[in-house]
Symmetry: C2
């Protein structure tokens, strides 16, 4: 194994764990060496399916595996904090699936452990690392649409109501906001920073979690973001960034964007397409590996202070509805 | 003059007065017979330009003109109530430009005068009467997208800041909400009714009016509308109606819609186009004439109770920002 190869472990064996394993295949300098599950059987099944040599029957065993450099946390939201801290304490670099935690308190604890130990930690908001989003940042930095004044973004999908499912279970941090609403909040954060004011309404369904909601986020200088999210209703899956001198429309599905329209003030629509191979999860993994090789403990594309601000915003949105999870 | 021709007068000679005069040309059974201004010179200039035989040097003279059946009120927002009531008291049917009034109190007074006298009155929300909007109502009534759950709609445009202009003057009911935000609010009303809850944020600029804002409107059963509006920033000018079994996208500019996409659950996008001739203002005039011929005192497509509810919603949105006009 050359010095350049980063050895990955995946903690958890659910759907997103498989998606990430497939993403890693796009990177010649990444190797998926280990998986950890709560049972040997599921670890083995995942190992067989994705060609992972080391299969651990506990999360602790994965965290302690000396052959692993970086761990991707793929458990449900409600255990992100515990598993991230477990891996950091074992000396691993950690990429933690979004939402980073249940709330800002948990996020601050995770970040404090990483910083105390000088270890790498990053939120796995994979969309931010896609090629198109890099181009969006370049256009904004170059003033292509003037000063951004407003961001609008949605992420809603229609799933069947299942009171026992993860998405509807308050004990697992269920609801639309933490699962998919975090994408619009993260986009707004990337463009406008942390809001000063939050105002929102939600429909809390029969299990008490947000089945659909909308919020307005207010920033310095009168800038605004408008976001909406749902788990029982499809939404357009689009985002727009409205500036003083034009606007950018990120086409659907804007959580996996490959196409945008750029309209400069008084100009025609320019369509920019940036397709990619693979499922797109390789870009966040590549960012982790770039940082590790450069000796960085966090990404400047998604710094930990920003992840913490995003969690504070999610907390404030939930506060505006009166939604608290039982573990809080 | 046959019994079927309706004789119109226009009160005011500004931009929208000319637009309405042009719209009337599409209707063979309408005749623009009179215009009223505050000065003979502007009345004559308008009369020359649009071929109007009777030119009055005061609004009172127009209201009293026995040759006029119906008056279109085309003055700035802040005088809609006064001029509408003046014309009703003179026995005229009235079509009053949007926003119907500065606030719900004024609107209730206007409606009371019309009802007391048994006279026709309608808000000139012209978009609602366009052919495409009729098709939207038919699709919703037929359950094409199931039960509507969410409406999103915006109307923002970029104009230069002009502290002396109507749009920026609090004394004339300036700001984006009353001028163009009323379109998204009216669409939400058409689909979802009157909201139970209102939550919003605005940027009040240096003259104290809303230069950009966004609001979430909450309805029974957890239904939501998300609207945003601006006067110094262009917005996409689109609307969507998201249902349990699909969605409708009204393409830009959705305030003058001729094209929509209908996506039924699991189906492909169906594009429906309903172009029209003329500038589109003829449809609201035709609705007034249909009602007058049928002896109706209000339109069932835009009833006065709904106009009043829309004004209450606009009031509540402004309340959430703390924006009151000096005349209130």
């Amino acid at each position: 194994m050359t010095a350049h190869v980063i050895r990955w472990g995946i903690l958890g064996t659910g759907r997103i764990a498989g998606v990430f394993a497939e993403g890693l295949r796009e990177l010649p300098d990444a190797r998926l060496v280990a998986v950890g599950s709560r049972a040997q059987e599921t670890a083995d099944a995942f190992g067989d399916k994705y060609g992972v040599p080391r299969r651990h029957a506990s999360y602790a065993a994965l965290a302690e595996d000396p052959e692993v450099d970086a761990v991707y946390i793929a458990t449900p939201h409600s255990s992100h904090a515990e598993e991230t801290i477990r891996c950091l304490r074992a000396g691993k670099a950690v990429l933690c699936e979004k939402p980073f935690a249940i709330n800002a308190r948990q996020a601050a604890e995770m970040i404090a452990v990483a910083r105390e130990r000088g270890l790498f930690l990053m939120e796995a908001m994979w969309t931010r690392f896609l090629p198109l989003m890099g181009r969006v940042r370049e256009l904004l930095a170059a003033g292509a649409i003037g000063e951004p004044r407003m961001v609008t973004s949605d992420f809603g999908f229609r799933t069947s109501f299942n009171p026992k499912g993860r998405l509807f279970d308050p004990a697992l941090g269920g609801g639309a906001l933490l699962d998919v609403g975090v994408y619009p909040v993260s986009l707004a954060s990337m463009v406008l920073g942390e809001p000063e004011r939050v105002s929102g309404l939600a429909h809390l369904g029969e299990t008490g979690v947000d089945e659909q909601s909308a919020a307005v986020l207010g920033y310095g200088g009168g800038r605004l973001a408008v976001i909406w999210t749902a788990v029982r209703t499809n939404t357009p899956l689009e985002s727009t960034i409205l500036g003083t001198d034009g606007w950018i429309r990120i086409h659907r599905p804007s959580w996996r964007p490959t196409k945008m329209s750029l309209v400069r003030q008084g100009g025609d629509e320019e369509v920019i397409e940036l397709p990619f191979t693979g499922n797109g999860y390789q870009f966040e993994a590549a960012e982790v590996m770039r940082c590790l090789r450069e000796g960085r403990t966090e990404s400047d594309i998604l710094p930990l202070d920003e992840t913490l601000a995003i969690m504070r915003t999610l907390d404030r949105i939930r506060e505006s509805w009166g939604l608290r999870y039982p573990m809080e």
